[in-house]
């Protein structure tokens, strides 16, 4: 993958950078969507009464067709998907906090409106994903409870603080960029509702990445202090973003099975490498430096060599010792508790209307 902008095909370029359209990630999302439409055409036939369920499941997955909610599926497949989709949904919901932190302090009305729209998108992504998880037989309330009780995880990246306005740019460019690289292959996931949700998410996510890049580009072409602020944000977000791809392949616990089930298509290290290769050129155009003295192009591999993130730190943050773990979950608990009266009032109103209708009938 060449360092290119993923968003060119859908959004106009308003800051004067030539970004060649050479098969960016959005193309891959569209290809996945197209594939989804065509997969059904490869006739597999319905399972006959005496077809072994496991065998039929394997055949559907093997033919790159989609498993749908009411199909038979192995229990471990269902559990793996619930865990992964829920964790993904929780990440979108918790992910609103670091950026929400800057809505009231955005430097202009335009930036504020954009940031509001972006944070609203994150909520939307969380809801698409919760809905996909619910098709596997778990309820929304259970999912919310598992998050609030700390029994299901969210992405460790959101446990880092947003200290300056430039962090909003760095999150858009690096964090959303890494998320897109991670998520584009999920558009081809074997579970239909998840694949469909991911197509929606990826299409919207590309606006996020681009708005972050634009913030950094503006700052890096501003005053010295603004440029320094942008550099500082990149220095702090680079390694945590690399860590978003998870532990190295040698230590990854869920990979092999998920690959066989076609839930996952590429390994953590493959995706991390793809992300690094994309970012180098983009950083150059920003005029900013990726904080890695070991970063250099490897002619033999036609890829960049880079310093791995600190995986011990990743494990500590996942275990709850990141800078903001407590704050994030406390905030979510408080927001949920403070919203209880709204949910109750709406339910009471609905019940009352329903009663009136019944009396009238």
């Amino acid at each position: 993958m060449l360092p290119s902008c993923n968003t060119c095909p859908v959004y106009g370029n308003d800051f004067g950078i030539e970004t060649p359209d050479d098969g960016g990630l959005l193309r891959q999302v569209e290809a996945a969507e197209e594939e989804l439409r065509h997969a059904a055409g490869r006739g597999l036939g319905a399972p006959l009464a005496d077809t072994d369920l496991q065998e039929y499941f394997d055949r559907v997955v093997g033919a790159d067709q989609k498993i749908e909610p009411r199909d038979w599926m192995p229990e471990a497949y269902r559990r793996t998907l619930i865990r992964q989709i829920a964790q993904h949904a929780h990440s979108e919901i918790i992910g609103m906090q670091p950026e929400g932190n800057w809505i009231s302090r955005a430097p202009s009305l335009k930036r504020k409106a954009i940031l509001l729209a972006k944070v609203q998108d994150e909520a939307g992504h969380g809801l698409y994903l919760y809905a996909a998880a619910e098709t596997l037989g778990i309820s929304r309330d259970e999912l919310v409870d598992l998050l609030l009780a700390g029994k299901q995880k969210y992405s460790s990246i959101f446990n880092y603080p947003t200290l300056t306005w430039a962090d909003v740019g760095a999150i858009g460019w690096l964090v959303d960029g890494a998320a897109i690289v991670n998520q584009v292959p999920l558009c081809r996931c074997s579970y239909g509702p998840y694949a469909r949700a991911m197509i929606r998410v990826c299409k919207e996510e590309s606006f996020h990445q681009r708005q972050g890049y634009e913030i950094l580009h503006t700052l890096s072409h501003g005053t010295e202090a603004q440029k320094a602020m942008a550099q500082d944000a990149i220095n702090r977000w680079w390694y945590p973003s690399l860590a978003m791809f998870g532990p190295p392949d040698t230590d990854s616990t869920h990979s092999a099975k998920s690959m066989a089930w076609k839930i996952k298509r590429f390994s953590n290290d493959e995706l991390r490498q793809r992300f690094v290769d994309m970012c180098v050129g983009q950083a150059e155009i920003l005029g900013l430096t990726l904080p890695d003295p070991g970063l250099r192009f490897n002619e033999e591999r036609q890829s960049y060599d880079f310093t791995q993130p600190d995986y011990d730190e990743l494990m500590r943050v996942i275990a709850g010792e990141g800078p903001c773990n407590r704050q994030r979950i406390d905030h979510r608990r408080a927001a949920h508790a403070e919203g209880a009266w709204v949910r109750e009032a709406a339910a009471a109103y609905a019940a009352k209307q329903h009663q009136r209708l019944e009396v009238a009938a």
Partner: protein
């Protein structure tokens, strides 16, 4: 935590005039009016539609894949329902 979960609604969106409504996903809402408003905010933030239907998920009756074989079988042996079944003599136009 005891509470009553809001019911699930299935959302159908008409993308443009002339197209049929297509299922886009689902959401929770206490009643139909809020389901519509939530559907607008959730599924049409980028002008994806000109019309929305919301249907309580419990009101949908589905053919289960388990019955798929028997259920759709009657259609399988009626190839004569397709125009390609018929042989058209050479030279026949507008058929």
């Amino acid at each position: 935590m005891s509470r009553q979960q809001w019911p699930l609604w299935e959302v159908f969106v008409r993308a443009r005039r002339g197209l049929s409504h297509t299922h886009v996903g689902s959401l929770h809402a206490p009643d139909a009016e809020l389901a519509l408003r939530n559907a607008r905010d959730l599924y049409t933030r980028r002008q994806e539609g000109v019309s929305i239907w919301v249907v309580p998920a419990t009101a949908i009756t589905a053919s289960s894949p388990d019955e798929k074989d028997a259920f759709f079988d009657p259609a399988a042996d009626k190839v004569y329902r397709h125009p390609t079944f018929y042989e058209v003599p050479e030279g026949v136009a507008h058929l």
